[in-house]
């Protein structure tokens, strides 16, 4: 059923089994999993079905450093379907190594493995409407010394809001509330669970949703903000007794700093990259062993080689003579060696060229964080202050990844690589618009905000869906993994709610 919160009575109280806050990729995936399972669900969306300036303005805040202006409102959309209303649809699971504790990457390691998520990735593929057959990572060539691995991304820019609006509105057990802006989580006095969520419609109207369980699915930054602004029972915010909420914020910095050129069509780069399509794109990364040897982060190198028109060879042909070369050849002959350069007739082989990006893993860093600003929005909620920090390992990893690619391209004859000289990597990246880590998953509440099931430590009926639960960022775009985690959270909550019933 569809309800416009603007039509509700002021002070209304809604009662449900589950209340999902936010109808983006995570919230919609979770709601879909609950449909038809006998639970009553409220799906609260702050915006409407279309973009509007008033709702979007609630996403404003302060971002340091001012990477792109304005990062906070530009990297998120605040209406039904959320940021998938303009995402690019690149989907790929995280790699095994992304979940592992890497001794050279401080704060790495998840409490779950890639294998834990495997069945949920298959279900996420159905939600994201991509083929479930994600090819694994394989060496670029079968040669032990090769250090470059290759893998594909599926590309399916599904607009979750449009694709699932009908299903959700028609579901008898789900009520979709539009213009329902969650303001605050109200904890029970002992602080061990959420009693209700306070919600504002577009005007002054306020109402409450009470539920047995709540899930924050407000996006990677707003999930942390909602915990921090809900500070009346626990003054430091919900789930923040160890000052972990908002820390470890990560995005995928993109470094458009390199170029690659191949001299023939048969090289593996050219072969693979010219086969890219609208729904499928191949990328490259360093082998696990090389990441460990070089003590660097994961990261993905993507390029699309295209033929170049190269005129220098014409110049070479029209040049009148190569006296020094002729002289050398003649000297060789005089020394009794045969010189018969039989020229090949026909076309010069094409050069293929591409600029390329490194989309880097961003190292987890407790000082890279979401906090609250002193400015408030029109509902009186403190705005976000985002302090996105990078460290030496972030830049060194990019430099080294390009270097290894360049070395192997040379050793195996695949082509040549250029890293712009004198590049200041610290000033040469742009954000990937992927908001990860600010409510990270850790078994120990001293080091994270949610447990392995994505439930907030110390608050027994509150879960979090979204990339804010990621412990590390890998290179893969986050949505496919956050949908898999949301599906997994749905299973967990259904068991718990079933038990409660």
């Amino acid at each position: 059923m569809l309800i416009d919160a603007n039509q509700l009575d002021d002070g209304a109280v809604i009662e449900k089994d589950l209340c999902i806050l936010g109808a983006g990729a995570a919230g919609i995936a979770l709601a879909l999993e609950f449909s038809g399972h006998g639970f009553s669900v409220a799906l609260l969306e702050g915006g409407g079905f279309e973009r509007d300036a008033e709702s979007q303005a609630l996403y404003e805040g302060v971002c340091e450093p001012p990477l792109i202006d304005p990062y906070l409102p530009a990297s998120r959309l605040r209406y039904f379907g959320g940021t998938t209303n303009h995402w690019l649809g690149y989907c790929r699971p995280f790699d095994d190594i992304d979940f592992e504790q890497r001794e050279w990457v401080p704060h790495s390691g998840w409490p779950i493995t890639r294998a834990t998520l495997e069945p949920f990735y298959r279900r996420a593929a159905a939600v994201c409407k991509v083929a479930p057959d994600f090819a694994g990572i394989e060496p670029l060539i079968a040669e032990p010394a090769n250090r470059i691995w290759t893998f594909p991304f599926h590309i399916a820019p599904l607009r979750f809001g449009y694709a699932y609006r009908g299903v959700l509105v028609d579901a008898t057990d789900i009520e979709v509330f539009l213009h329902a802006n969650a303001l605050r989580l109200a904890l029970r006095p002992n602080g061990d669970s959420v009693d209700h969520v306070e919600v504002a419609a577009s005007g002054d109207r306020r109402f409450q949703v009470r539920a047995k369980a709540f899930v924050l699915a407000l996006g990677g930054i707003e999930n942390a903000r909602m915990l921090l602004v809900s500070d009346d029972v626990q003054s430091q915010g919900v789930g923040n007794q160890h000052d972990q909420v908002g820390r470890y914020f990560m995005d995928h910095p993109i470094f458009p700093v390199a170029q690659i050129c191949t001299s023939h069509t048969s090289g593996p780069f050219t072969d693979l990259s010219v086969r890219n399509t609208d729904t499928w794109a191949r990328s490259f990364r360093l082998a696990d062993g090389e990441q460990e040897r070089s003590r660097i982060l994961n990261g993905c190198l993507s390029f699309n080689l295209i033929p170049q028109v190269e005129d220098v060879r014409q110049q070479l042909l029209t040049k009148k003579s190569w006296d020094t070369v002729e002289a050398y050849l003649a000297a060789e002959e005089q020394a009794g060696r045969e010189v018969t350069v039989i020229g090949r007739e026909g076309e010069d082989p094409a050069l293929f060229f591409s600029r390329f990006d490194v989309r880097a893993e961003h190292a987890p860093n407790p000082d890279s964080r979401v906090t609250l600003d002193h400015e408030v929005d029109r509902f009186g909620l403190r705005r976000v202050r985002l302090d996105w920090r990078m460290q030496a390992i972030d830049f060194e990893s990019v430099r080294r990844a390009v270097e290894v690619l360049a070395e192997d391209a040379g050793r195996f004859g695949w082509g040549r690589v250029r890293l712009a000289p004198d590049i200041d990597l610290e000033r040469s990246y742009s954000p990937g618009f992927h908001h990860m880590g600010a409510t990270r998953m850790q078994e120990d509440p001293k080091h994270g905000v949610v447990d392995r099931n994505c439930m907030v430590h110390g608050v027994k009926n509150l879960g979090i869906a979204g990339s804010s639960v990621f412990c590390t960022s890998g290179y893969a775009n986050p949505t496919f993994s956050l949908v898999a985690l949301a599906v997994r959270l749905a299973d967990h909550l259904q068991k718990r709610l079933g038990g409660l019933a």
């Binding site: 170029q259 190569w322 020094t324 070395e407 040379g410």
Partner: protein, 134 residues
Amino acid sequence: MTAQLSRRALASGALGLVGLATAVRHLPSLLTGPSRAQRLIRELVNLVAVTEPIAVGRFYFAAQPGVKATDLVPQVLAELPLGGPVEGIRQAFRQKLVDDFEAGRTIRLDGWYLSETEAQLCALVALEVGGLGG
């Protein structure tokens, strides 16, 4: 990662005089089509995967000022089977580039990670075609 210009023997002493004689000897082929030197250089440049060899060659000169064509030619052509079919020359040149990378004989020019040999070829092209005073 610096070019070791003295790495290969600079068998260049006699080249100046021989060059004059050669130019006269090959005059007819200049009228009929590309000379063997032109064909050879074209084959080799085709194997160098940089978009602007002349520009790259200029960076070589910035790093190694004073290098002459007579220094570069023997280094580029050394060990190539010039008496065999052109495919053999190509293959040997490719291998020379791979060997450079394997042995760490690499050089960074304008950001490109290059084998020394191909950097020297680019330098030769810059000198002869790019108007670097050659």
